[in-house]
């Protein structure tokens, strides 16, 4: 082990030339598993894979191998993207392309391995083959790159995700990793690195879209010692999991990005601020940092360059607002995570009053690639104002969900209809939401818009941190807006009044819209309507006067839903109807006398005893008593109960 490490440092990391000698390259091929003598079984083991049962699959694979006395390598890889396919298993037989199988739960393992080891490839569960030059292709099996989920993507940041074992630094180095970092600290000055990044046009991927190179320059040019670099991996939006997946699948490239960024900004201490609950990501990153330290890539006077760097990992303690940079800094200082007024910006006075640069995970993942391939390469991707690619977490009601990466400028329609495969279960598309819980809704008419900062701003939306939520007709917009407001209300830090009180009042009014009133006299409709009018006033005050982005953007979903789905709000307020039949307070059920057999199942399940009848005769529901819970609907075996 020690000898291999020394070999990697001397022959790979410290080699100045870009092309490695062929004998070294051959050695690296072995580490990269491009030449294997025994079968290799890759099992994806990110959080979403584990939830789908990848842990049990791995145990079953190992048990099979022991039982059959077959020698094979079992490798746990990161997540390659499509969450629907989890647990994803790849099998590589010596000299042949990898075969990718989906949804391999533990009970399918024996049959699958038996078949593949006997060269009989089962069609069921097969996604396709993947491979590079020099491997024998399987005849009649499609390439996974032609699968619509992958074909329309441009995977640059995610190029390593799902391909290697994230717990092996050797494998990352064999894939060309850390060479850019070593080259940067030995051959470039911090100024030059900032210049290259600025020239590439890389903009912050967390929503604001500030030029990364420029931000670094501000920090570099601020005098004083003890600067800090913070990698913001907080990502706490409901429905967002891009950063977590990246950290689980390719932690070393993130560390390389952080190291280059720290060098460029003159920081010798860096923090990775990870959201609580992301245990797998934390464990992976922590192990990666200690491996990098063991190899001398972190520490004092790294490879005699005079550059020192220490990376610490901080776990957030569960407050959404800590994704905001000033709140994040307060939290790292051991205080309540409450945002502060800007300026001064963190680049002048940040953590412990020192100049601090905060970048998010995706931004930093781009850095090693830009330093390796040059700013022109990066600038050639995307549009004029937005270079590069963007990673999204597909979620909601789409057919495929998971992590995807597209070139900037790709129309939203391509992602919704192509990569995500449209809406699940043949339902009608209703809206798309970017930017998480404070994002606006994009209706079908605007899906021609390209993924880039400027075009999205024109239609009142933004890239946000990467959540991409597809909403279909089964979702009630009023209920969804209420859900977001409830989230914002709980997560408001309470420092400024517009946000603390505004979110509370807005939630209260929305609650009245979706709930059944205590009495149903004529006045309540008017009151509800007046409430909604006030919602718009409160929303505009919050937008103008809140201290940080949380309060300023909290009314966005409401305002945009009001704009595009006003008729749904009106139906809820005046007609007391929810067209998606989601709002419990607004629905009542009826029993079809033709279908009802009088089995009494519904009556015994009803929590408020609203169902009456005689056994073996049709039952009926007393509307005034019904609370719309739907328990009777779920329990009826004869489909006799329907929403009125």
């Amino acid at each position: 082990m020690e000898a291999r490490r020394k070999y990697l440092i001397d022959k790979v990391l410290l080699t100045a030339s870009d092309v490695l000698p062929s004998e070294v390259e051959r050695e690296l091929q072995l580490i990269r598993r491009e030449r294997v003598s025994i079968p290799v079984i890759y099992i994806s083991s990110g959080t979403s894979s584990l939830i789908a049962g990848a842990g049990k699959t791995e145990a079953a694979v190992r048990a099979y191998l022991t039982e059959m006395e077959t020698t094979s390598d079992v490798v746990g890889t990161g997540c390659s993207g499509p969450a629907n396919f989890e647990p994803l298993v790849c099998i590589q037989l010596p000299g042949k392309n990898k075969l990718v199988f989906r949804n391999i739960t533990e009970e399918k393992v024996d049959a699958l391995l038996n078949a593949v080891f006997h060269n009989d490839i089962p069609d069921e569960d097969l996604v396709g083959q993947s491979g590079s030059k020099g491997f024998e292709t399987w005849h009649g099996i499609p390439f996974i790159d032609d699968h619509p989920y992958f074909a329309l993507q441009k995977r640059v940041i995610l190029s390593n995700c799902g391909c290697y074992d994230p717990s092996s630094i050797e494998e990352y180095i064999a894939r060309g990793g850390y060479r850019t970092f070593v080259k940067s600290i030995r051959h470039y000055t911090p100024d030059e690195v900032c210049e290259i990044i600025e020239k590439s046009g890389l903009r912050g991927r967390s929503g604001g879209g500030f030029l990364t190179g420029l931000k670094w320059k501000y920090a570099l040019n601020t005098s004083g010692s003890g600067k800090y670099l913070i990698c913001n991996a907080k990502e706490s939006d409901p429905g967002g999991y891009t950063d977590r997946t990246i950290m689980e699948s390719d932690p070393h490239r993130l560390i390389e990005g952080i190291s280059i960024a720290a060098y460029a900004t003159g920081a010798s201490t860096a923090f990775i601020y990870i959201r609580s609950g992301s245990d797998k990501a934390t464990e992976t990153v922590r192990r990666a940092v200690s491996q990098a330290r063991d190899l001398g890539l972190l520490g004092h006077n790294i490879y005699s360059s005079g550059f020192n760097l220490e990376i610490h990992i901080a776990i957030d303690a569960g407050a959404f607002v800590c994704g905001e940079e000033t709140a994040l800094i307060r939290s790292l200082e051991g205080r309540r995570g409450m945002p502060e007024l800007k300026p001064p910006y963190p680049t002048t006075s940040g953590l412990f009053g020192k100049p601090t640069v905060i970048n998010n995970v995706e931004t930093l993942m781009n850095v090693p690639l830009i330093m390796k391939n040059g700013p022109e390469w990066f600038g050639s991707m995307g549009t004029e104002g937005s270079s590069g690619t963007k990673v999204f977490a597909l979620a909601g009601r789409s057919r495929f969900t998971g992590i995807v990466e597209v070139e900037m400028g790709t129309p939203l329609k391509t992602i919704v209809e192509g990569i995500a495969g449209g809406v699940r279960d043949g339902k009608e598309f209703k809206a798309l939401q970017l930017g998480g819980s404070t994002g606006t809704f994009i209706t079908a008419g605007y899906l021609g818009t390209g993924v880039c900062f400027d075009e999205l701003r024109e239609i009142g939306s933004g890239l946000g941190a990467g959540s991409f939520i597809i909403i279909d007709e089964t979702t009630c917009m009023v209920d969804l807006v209420r859900y977001y407001m409830d989230f914002m209300h709980r997560e408001s830090c309470g420092k400024c009044i517009p946000c603390r009180e505004g979110t509370g009042r807005m939630l209260e009014i929305l609650d009245h819209v979706v709930k059944r009133p205590a009495s149903d006299d004529a006045g309540t409709t008017l009151e509800r309507f007046k409430g909604v009018m006030q919602l718009e006033t409160i929303a505009s005050v919050m937008k103008d006067t809140s201290l940080c982005g949380l309060g300023q953007n909290a009314p966005n979903p409401f305002l945009s839903a009001m704009n595009s789905f006003r008729e749904e709000f009106e139906e809820h307020i005046f007609d007391r109807k929810c067209r998606s039949n989601v709002c419990r307070g607004l629905r009542t059920f009826t029993i079809d006398v033709e279908k009802c057999t009088g089995c009494t199942a519904c009556a015994s399940k009803c929590p408020v005893n609203a169902i009456y009848g005689t056994r073996l005769q049709p039952f009926f529901i007393v509307e005034d008593k019904c609370i719309g819970c739907g328990a009777c609907h779920d329990v009826c075996k004869f489909s006799a109960i329907s929403v009125k």
Partner: protein, 155 residues
Amino acid sequence: MESVIDEIFGRYKQGRKEDLIPILQEIQEKAGHISEYSIVRLGSLLGISTTKIYGLATFYDQFRFFPAGKVHLRVCHGTSCFMNGSGPVLASLKEELGIEPGQTTRDGRFSYEVVTCMGSCSIGPVIEVNGEYHTGVKSDQIPAMIKRLKHLIDN
């Protein structure tokens, strides 16, 4: 319990306020919750008043001041799970256990918390029970699930 806390304190330097959150996290991880004893001891270690520590700990959702239940459930309430029906699941859980998220039942058997996204958006709603995941959970499955868990705890 007290020896666990003292052992944690032994590893940190005195008076570094920025260690407050990591120490609290470690106490919660090792001891299960933040007790009054640990807050008082922490105050003297870091030179901060106990009110300030309590103020900080209550600000963050992660910290618990009572022991968690023998079975701790984590319910995903991210946007996808919400669209697929985590709302009724939570309502059913609340009704079945008679507690709010973050609380522990009186008999100390159950506690549950709401998390924002676990990242399994295609198979939601997801519930994690002591490290095991249940996917595609429906609200009417909750009573049976709780019954089964009660049986497991008692035996």
